[in-house]
């Protein structure tokens, strides 16, 4: 196949073939990182605007480095460094981005659908870097890439996603991607954060982590998003650790080849025991390295078509 999309808004609208195409392209860009000159001229003369209405360091930095390695010029606009704060309409956001002559826009926004809205209205390529609780496609792609790199393929694997699923765009994008590539997915967490309704997507829901851990090939621990939590969803950190935290004792139930993943930033001692995060089963740093290759691939593909 050939790549024909100018935007990456979500994993939901991608075919399995398109997902695999991005992952294969990322292989080629990962190789670039081993060269003497780690920069290629693919997006020379293009301007990328990193537009982050919500704070983010690692995703923004990863996109910035990816764009730099592709020879694009990068402008960073964030809610705190500009006069654009609360109250700005998306349409005004779009006008500002157009006025900046952006060829590619990486958008992080608190509202679901923000990236789609801009993609329909701007000629520039829109890359969704997280829109509310909707999708975070490049995170899912780098997770898929990391799993595929370690296990050879995704099809047939059993993946547990643990924690705050309800508010998590990472979970949604991962669910779509994993199912499309043939994995089995079990969501684990308290019923307030992992409601049964998710089963309609084609996944299994469990509220007992100890029943799930012995059967999985990958356990992906999501960050407890303190900033999004309201009291009625979340009883307390102590109770969460006791019921759902990946402690050393719990980790003994994992298969020896089970991968431990976390999109970061880690709350050490909450979602995961600190030693486990640095242990042999952890691929958390691989996720960061692969994120660069995956984002180079996405920027090259979406920014490289007319």
């Amino acid at each position: 196949m050939r790549w024909q999309r100018k935007d990456l808004v979500g994993i939901r609208e991608l075919s399995a073939e398109e997902i695999t195409f991005v992952l294969d392209t990322a292989d080629a860009f990962k190789q670039v990182g081993t060269r003497e000159v780690k920069k290629v001229p693919a997006l020379r003369g293009k301007t990328l605007v990193n537009f982050f209405i919500e704070p983010s360091t690692r995703t923004r930095t990863s996109f910035e480095l990816a764009a730099t390695r592709l020879s694009a010029d990068v402008i960073n606009i964030s809610a705190t460094t500009s006069s654009l704060t609360k109250g700005e309409t998306l349409k005004d956001t779009a006008k500002i981005l157009e006025a900046n002559h952006a060829d590619l826009i990486v958008l992080r926004h608190s509202s679901a659908g923000a990236a789609q809205f801009l993609a329909e209205r701007l000629r520039a390529s829109i890359i969704n870097a997280g829109d509310g609780a909707h999708e975070h496609p490049t995170q899912a792609l780098l997770d898929l890439y990391t799993i595929r790199e370690r296990r050879g393929s995704i099809a047939g694997l059993h993946v547990a996603i643990v924690g705050d699923i309800l508010f998590s765009r990472v979970a949604r994008s991962n669910i779509f991607g994993l199912l499309k590539l043939g994995a089995r997915v079990t969501l684990v967490g308290p019923s307030t954060l992992v409601p049964r309704e998710f089963e309609r997507l084609g996944v299994t829901v469990s509220h007992r982590i100890d029943e799930v851990l012995p059967t999985v090939d990958v356990v992906n621990l999501l960050r407890i998003q303190h900033e999004r939590q309201r009291k009625e969803y979340f009883p307390g950190i102590g109770e969460y650790i006791r019921l759902f935290g990946l402690t050393k004792a719990r980790a003994r139930q994992l298969r020896p080849d089970c991968l431990i993943m976390h999109p970061g930033p880690i709350n050490r001692g909450v979602e995961i025991d600190s030693d486990l995060a640095d242990g042999v089963q952890s691929v958390i740093l691989d996720q960061v390295t692969n994120g660069l290759a995956v984002r180079m691939a996405v920027l090259y593909l979406c920014g490289g078509i007319a």
Partner: protein
């Protein structure tokens, strides 16, 4: 061109590579995907047959170094480059199937530069169809095939296309 003619052309090119490079151990054949990789493999096999020395081969993908990124409606798959690193002091021979405008060769030279600084870069191509747009020439040519700009050269290689080796000139085709 049929399979015999292609084999004879590649044998002759392999002989020329041997004649022009006294230090064959420093030579790297870098094929441009996908047919250039297959041609590089065959050239290396001939050189090994003639001289009993092992020739290094590699893959050099040019997609990221092309000058028309952003001007096409769709993008083909980028293949992963594989070259011995570093290339410093080596003789790198770029291997392509059809030599046309020279833009692919320029991109390949740029890509090779990101792996190191070779002592020299040469170019081997099975078909030279003319119509250069850049000041680049080939060092080893299997066959000169005069063409008009509107014509197309169709090349098929076993192992790549699952068809027998053959080259056709298709006239009257669009662009």
């Amino acid at each position: 061109m049929d399979a015999d003619a292609i084999r004879n052309a590649l044998r002759r090119m392999a002989h020329e590579i041997v004649e022009r490079n006294s230090d064959l151990a420093s030579v790297v054949l870098a094929g441009i995907p996908s047919r250039g990789v297959e041609i590089a493999r065959r050239l290396a096999a001939f050189v090994e047959e003639f001289e009993k020395v092992k020739i290094e081969t590699g893959v050099i993908d040019v997609s990221m170094h092309r000058d028309d990124v952003g001007q096409r409606a769709e993008l083909p798959m980028v293949q992963t480059s594989r070259l011995p690193v570093p290339l410093d002091g080596r003789t790198v021979i770029i291997v392509d199937d059809v030599f046309y405008t020279g833009r692919t060769t320029r991109a390949a030279m740029d890509a090779i530069g990101s792996f190191g600084r070779p002592a020299r870069i040469q170019l081997a191509t099975l078909i030279d169809r003319g119509h250069r747009e850049l000041p680049i020439r080939a060092d080893y040519v299997g066959k000169n095939l005069p063409t008009a700009p509107g014509e197309r050269v169709r090349l098929r290689l076993e192992n790549v296309d699952m068809e027998p080796d053959a080259v056709w000139l298709i006239t009257g085709a669009r662009t």
